[in-house]
């Protein structure tokens, strides 16, 4: 029994990728004759299986790694020609997030997306497989292929409703920008292969550290990182995000915002520690990532607060939070990484719940415009509650998962001597949380003056048929479970210590290389101090939530302030108008900004 269990854990990473793939194939074949409930049930079984597998993997990896050489092409004396999957606790945690969101999304789609057919379920399962594959890949080219596959499936999912003009256009822009990003990454992969003759992450890292550093490696780092930053939606690579998420079916938005962008940041972290740490200058990388993150957090926050299209607003809030993730990873130390992991998980729960909630609005009122929906949400108290808690989660109210991640991140930043990022993180929380709370107050409570164009329909396509009681359960189920999971992240101490072990193993480059290439025992796992939150962290969290409420009120009642006070906001208005002008562009300009981003990152790292 024990040997069987250990054999099974040895192949678990491959099963987690092959299972959903196989499920997609079965859905495609059987779905032509089987009824809709069969697609739903099969997809759900596969997603639950992935979730269980991911949880198991998270448990058994501990401070080590599960290394699986596909086809048993084991390395000899540290040399290998095989392809490897590596699961450590951080990547297993990503699998849990991906599969958990998939379960939530499938529960929601069960009743909310009625017109979808077999293809939708097959695409979702392919998306699950490719995201899992990307999280577990231990090989550069393998990662590139998963990256592209994840992209192609996402373009198809975003443009799924081909009868909608905006939907296909959004998908096309998304596709062009992301594919260009993938090509940029591939150039980086090629450079690394040219320099080392290896594609395996551990082998590339080892070879680079054995040889004197040269500029080609730094350039390769710039290209590789730029490519995944496109997927991560970091400024200025982020322009596709709002266009794609404004038009995508809401369950797809939940997956893009909750899981896919986080995988981009995950790849930055993985490639830094395994490949480039000790090769590329750490101080310049730290500056580059933290500054990039700060700019992303602020610009995303401002764009978020100044939207009235709820899905666009949520998309920009994702951009803002990606900035926070990048700051966390960019500090390039274990405690900050552990905090970022918790923050990513908390954010995924909150953001997915919010997107599913906006799906209910779209479904019921055929609109996601904050002004049109003024006061009309009073009929949906459950959805309103999800919006309110989701908004407070984005603001970082204790005891939600985002708060724990944020307070630990702020502490890690202060002890790393980067105190200046604390107000930036706070700004991201307050702006994004404030924006969602403003929507909640206007739509679900009807607070404040009635907007001039309230009640006018703009003709968004509804996603489902008539509204039914069962559909409410179908939303409130996943929404409340997601938010409860967010609370559990903060409340269960094992999660905190687990994140600390995960991060300590993640940043332990020599152990990773030794274990993957089979070069002797990696030694005992690095010990990690359990992160503890402090009373002042709770106070800070409460203050941030209060500030978000104040900002939300400002957003609602700004028009009724005295003229003298309103004059103070004029510079902000100029900034917002300018940013909106930059963002109202077409795909060519997005490509131009992408090149600017690559050049900026290059300047930061090379000089």
């Amino acid at each position: 029994m024990t040997t069987m269990a250990s054999e099974l854990t040895g192949v678990l990473p491959a099963i987690l990728i092959a299972g959903p793939m196989l499920g997609a194939a079965v859905v495609m074949i059987a779905g032509r004759v089987a009824p809709r409930w069969f697609d739903d049930a099969l997809a759900m079984v596969v997603a639950l299986g992935s979730l269980a597998g991911g949880c198991w993997l998270t448990g058994i990896t501990g401070g080590g790694r599960i290394v699986e050489w596909i086809g048993d092409w084991q390395p000899r004396h540290g040399q290998s020609v095989g392809i490897v999957l590596v699961a450590d606790r951080m990547s297993a945690g990503m699998v849990v997030i991906i599969a958990g969101l998939m379960v939530a999304v499938l529960t929601y789609s069960w009743h909310f997306l009625e017109e979808v057919d077999t293809t939708y379920h097959a695409l979702l399962l392919c998306f699950l497989a490719s995201m899992t594959g990307f999280a577990l890949a231990g090989d550069l080219f393998d990662a590139f292929v998963w990256f592209e596959m994840m992209g192609v499936v996402a373009y198809a999912l975003v443009g799924m409703r081909v009868e909608e003009p905006r939907s296909v256009h959004g998908a096309l822009g998304f596709g062009i920008v992301n594919t260009l990003g993938a090509s940029v990454s591939l150039v980086g992969v090629t450079f690394l292969y040219a320099r080392t003759g290896e594609l395996n992450l551990a082998a590339v890292g080892r070879a680079l550290r054995a040889a004197p550093t040269d500029r080609l490696v730094t350039v390769a780092c710039v290209f590789l990182m730029s490519g995944v930053l496109v997927k991560a939606a970091a400024v200025p690579f982020h322009f596709w995000t709002a266009d794609a998420e404004a038009v995508a079916p809401t369950p797809v938005c939940a997956l893009l915002s909750g899981a896919m962008v986080a995988l981009g940041v995950f790849a930055v972290a993985r490639w830094w520690w395994v490949v480039f740490a000790g090769v590329v200058d750490t101080a310049s990388m730290r500056h580059a990532l933290v500054v990039l993150g700060a700019v992303t957090a602020v610009i995303g926050g401002i764009m978020c607060f100044s939207q009235r299209h709820i899905k666009r607003l949520l998309a920009y809030s994702t951009v803002s939070h990606v900035g926070v993730f990048l700051i966390g990873v960019g500090l390039l130390n274990g405690p900050a990484l552990a905090a970022t992991g918790l923050y990513v998980a908390g954010h995924a729960c909150a953001k997915a719940a919010l997107f599913l909630g906006s799906g209910v609005l779209l479904n019921r009122f055929e609109s996601v415009d904050e002004h049109e929906l003024f006061g009309r949400g009073r009929a949906l108290p459950g959805t309103g509650l999800i919006f309110a808690v989701g908004g407070l989660a984005l603001a970082g109210l204790p005891p939600l998962g985002t708060w724990l991640g944020k307070t630990l991140l702020e502490e890690a930043a202060s002890s790393a001597g980067a105190t200046w990022v604390v107000p930036i993180i706070l700004a991201a929380s307050v702006l994004t949380g404030g924006a969602v709370l403003r929507v909640t107050a206007r739509v679900f409570l009807g607070l404040g003056p009635r907007p001039e164009d309230a009640g006018k329909s703009r003709g968004e396509q509804p996603e489902a048929g008539p509204f039914r009681m069962l559909q409410i359960v179908s939303l409130l189920g996943p929404g409340s479970v997601l938010l409860a999971a967010s609370v559990a992240l903060a409340a269960v101490p094992a999660v905190r210590s687990g994140a600390a072990t995960a991060a300590a193993a993640f940043v332990d480059t020599p152990a990773y290389v030794a274990q993957v290439l089979g070069l002797g025992s990696p030694g005992p796992a690095a010990a990690a101090a359990e992160p503890v939150w402090t009373g002042s962290g709770v106070g800070f969290g409460l203050a941030a939530a209060a500030a978000a409420v104040v900002v939300a009120c400002l957003g609602i009642w700004a028009g009724s302030l005295p003229v003298a006070v309103r004059r103070l906001f004029r510079p902000a208005r100029v900034v917002i108008t300018g940013l909106h002008a930059v963002h109202e562009a077409h795909v060519g300009e997005y490509v131009g900004w992408l090149m600017v981003g690559v050049a900026a990152l290059g300047c930061a790292l090379v000089f």
Partner: protein, 123 residues
């Protein structure tokens, strides 16, 4: 000089593709420009594996130990071409849908069409 020529060519193709993308006024042209960018990565990969006086890495009729070019990059190029073809097919299919729904494939015009139909993201 000859040794760096393929790299210069790959860089040139990459940049010209990006230029095409950035200035494109036609979505079919944009998708083809993207294919041009992808072609630069094929050339770059093959250039990395190239060796003077080496032959194709097929050992049916040559003796083991004979100089051959790197087979790995050739496999990567092949995979890359498959991925590129998939992406181009999908994006062109989306372009057809855009043309059907909007009646134009000029990104500038589509943008203004969408703004007229009330998709202002501002206040």
């Amino acid at each position: 000089m000859f040794a760096v020529l393929p790299y210069l060519a790959a860089g040139w193709i990459f940049l010209i593709g990006c230029y095409g993308l950035a200035t494109s006024r036609n979505l079919v042209h944009a998708v083809v420009s993207l294919a041009v960018v992808q072609s630069s990565t094929y050339l770059l990969l093959l250039a990395v594996g190239w060796k003077r006086d080496a032959t194709a890495p097929v050992f049916g009729d040559i003796s083991p130990g004979a100089p051959v070019v790197d087979p790995i990059v050739q496999a990567l190029t092949l995979t890359d071409i498959v991925v590129g073809a998939t992406v181009s097919a999908l994006l062109l299919a989306l372009t057809i849908q855009v043309a059907k729904r909007h009646g134009t494939i000029d990104p500038e015009e589509i943008r203004s069409l969408e703004q007229d139909s009330g998709d202002d993201d501002g206040q």
